[in-house]
Homo-oligomer: 447 residues x 2
């Protein structure tokens, strides 16, 4: 029987590392571990995870609770995505008829809007009536946008009636945010009655912290490492956190440089233990926020003391003008993957507890130790879900489906961590919409 | 965006009938109806449904709780099947490590064995360790069989230890039957402690009756018809039942001919109501049993009185020598579908509550009003699941994905009926293994 996974020309083709082989050999125990885990925890509605495969280490470096690249998934994975969305809706509100999707406010990014259209289509296939309610000031009446794919997307202004939100003539039972609330939490979404809002407001970036996520991930990775009898470091990057940093006022530099030093020292010890000759590095980035802003690669503690004005500006603000005051210093994990000679990292998409697809983020202008979520990037969709579901024990260990099974496993560990993270941070109150953040693009002038 | 469903050359290409259009238009209501239904009912572990699309009517004619054609599904549907199997295992026993699969006893039918291998593979992909325990007298030690696909299949003799069953060195928490127990219920499977056995013993053909299934289907179809404001007859074949029939002793012929007359009369009334000019017919078949044995097409009540010896022999016994005493007289639904000029009917496969694939059963030697499950049949796999999940509201109404969505809906109605049927018949005790049924093939000399 031919293997159902399409031939992939883009995957790393070197031998499978010992860790990947261990994951593959432990597949039954791993799947059972996840089954048991999801008996006691509620998965986020959806999520995407950026992974790095350094050859000696395979780890998540970012976990997005408002994934914006559904348009980059291969069409072949749509049926699985629909099936997973059906499961998610069953958990959320089985009697739902109507679902309101609230996207990011930028209405001119057609790549992003294609993601919204794709997501709406997946949700619509579950039998929900899906309408799209915009937070954008530009959308004052129903507006139909043309997409490069030939599709159209209808955005409608949000309407609040008492303690419910919807669009004109449409009172949804469930609301799905595809907006990470970097700009703050709009009043129109607060204090809703009887409407299910997912992800919850505290998943937005005014409350969420990467360091909370990775603290939860520490626990999940430790548990999972015991199951596999591996060093948890093999799947978990070290991190430290500094609060009260002000890049422009040069406050918090001591904490930054000490943390960089601490993390580099810990990496060096591990590299020595395993005979790894690479140069250690850390990634310094905003503890809240996304879109690849406010990120730098640091190889020595002195570098964070000598930032020039341009670098400080770049680090000080992220998407929607959100000020950076908390910073995470994360162990850098190099990526050994290349697609057509450009550096690449896998991104895995999940709905409910299922892997539903993925793609490579590829950036010709970046090195293996740099953030790839930056100008110059493009995406290569892969028939990822089949591979993540379907390891082939009879195939050579470095076959693409086997490699991708490992990726699906580590991505699901990050999803498991997110479920703990969201439970633990449920008491935190989201900040209101920032006064200056309403106009877009607030960050266009920065950097 | 190109539609994810592969181009299909084999589907009926005429205009979509009014019913199919109604189903398509009601997709949100339908999916919600199923979501709510499965909140209150437990789906069978798996099942397959034979459908007939007469152009004016679309109905299930058979519902198999031990589907044997997983090898006929397209490879592209495997990821969805694995995802569905994960959901089924979560419902069944989330802490399971080991699953025992018990197939039919015939060890020489390589088509069937390829189905077993495919099913074992799907289950293995969920992370279960799957071993195959055989009820066959031929399997007295672990036996590895070569399959035409190049795969191998290892069958092991069943072992009973106290109140648990397994194979040597393997004590499963869950047991999946792919054996419909036509030969009776072996002692080795009775009175098990703490082991989950699905489908339950009373789903086997010594207990199960098609008339029980279609009585449950009546209720489901009535409910669903209300939802769509359609005549339930559009999706439901009439049926009647005769017990204590003995074809060889010519007992029960009165009941048979009266029932045939009754069903034909009811069909004629409906044909008149809708202006259908086709000649009505009924299918007379064993109320228990499968494999397309003991089935005849009848156009007039007199035909069941004039059976010759060969016809009586053919009707008297079905698979594994099971004697026919209960008979179902089912409204015949012609199939208007053809594949390469041969008559075809769609078969839809489900795991848990999800459609996971399907194929056409094609038989060049049969007419549109005959049973196709007979010598001469072959199978044409279709990328069915995508179509069943993914109707395309913007495509012409007779596009293949839309037609297939209707098929998936009607198949799921039969699955819903099976869940009620299994609940209602749970008190019925399975009959022991028939004395003469152990040797195979018991029916080879018949007909």
């Amino acid at each position: 029987m031919p293997h159902p996974v399409p031939h992939l020309v883009t995957a790393q083709s070197g031998p499978l590392l010992e860790l990947e082989q261990r994951i593959l050999d432990s597949m039954p125990a791993i799947e059972r571990w996840f089954r048991m885990y999801w008996q006691d925890h509620t998965p986020p509605f959806y999520g995407s995870v950026d992974l790095r495969n350094a050859g000696f280490k395979l780890a998540p470096v970012d976990m997005n609770l408002f994934p914006g690249g559904f348009n980059n998934l291969s069409d072949a994975m749509l049926p699985c995505a629909v099936q997973a969305a059906q499961a998610a809706i069953e958990h959320l509100c089985p009697d739902a008829r109507n679902l309101l999707l609230i996207p990011e406010r930028h209405t001119r990014n057609t790549y992003y809007l294609t993601n919204v259209a794709r997501l709406a289509r997946i949700l619509g296939m579950t039998g929900l009536e899906v309408r799209i309610g915009s937070l954008s000031d530009d959308i004052r009446e129903p507006t139909t946008l043309e997409l490069p794919t030939g599709e159209t997307l209808r955005l409608e202004p949000l309407v609040r009636a008492k303690n419910r939100v919807g669009v004109a003539g449409f009172d949804p039972c469930a609301i799905l945010l595809n907006n990470d609330l970097s700009a703050g939490t709009p009043a129109i979404l607060r204090n809703l009655d009887d409407q299910v809002l997912v992800p919850p407001l505290h998943a937005g970036w005014t409350v969420r912290r990467k360091s909370h996520h990775f603290a939860s991930y520490d626990e999940v990775a430790d548990d999972f490492a015991k199951l596999l009898s591996i060093d948890p470091w093999m799947i978990n990057p070290y991190f430290a956190r500094c609060s009260s940093v002000d890049f422009q006022a040069r406050e918090g530099e001591d904490c930054l440089s000490e943390s960089v030093d601490l993390v580099l020292t810990r990496i060096r010890a591990k590299y020595k233990e395993y005979g790894i000759t690479d140069a250690p590095f850390v990634i310094v980035k905003a503890d809240a926020g996304t879109y690849g802003m406010g990120i730098m690669t640091v190889r020595d503690a002195s570098e964070v003391r000598d930032l020039n004005r341009k670098q400080r500006n770049k680090m000080a603000v992220v998407k929607e003008g959100l000020q950076v005051s908390d910073v995470i210093i994360q162990e850098g994990v190099a990526t050994r993957e290349t697609v057509e000679d450009a550096v690449a990292e896998p991104v895995v998409y999940m709905i409910d507890r299922y892997v539903v697809g993925g793609f490579y983020r590829v950036n010709k202008e970046r090195g293996i130790d740099e953030n790839l979520n930056a100008p110059g990037m493009h995406f290569v969709p892969l028939a990822f879900a089949s591979s993540c579901n379907l390891p082939d024990c009879n195939a050579p260990a470095d076959a693409a489906p086997n490699r991708f099974y490992s990726y699906g496993v580590v991505a699901r560990l990050a999803l498991a961590a997110a479920s703990i993270e969201l439970d633990r941070t449920a008491h935190l109150l989201p900040a209101p919409l920032a006064a200056g953040a309403a106009a877009l693009p607030a960050v266009a002038a920065v950097g």
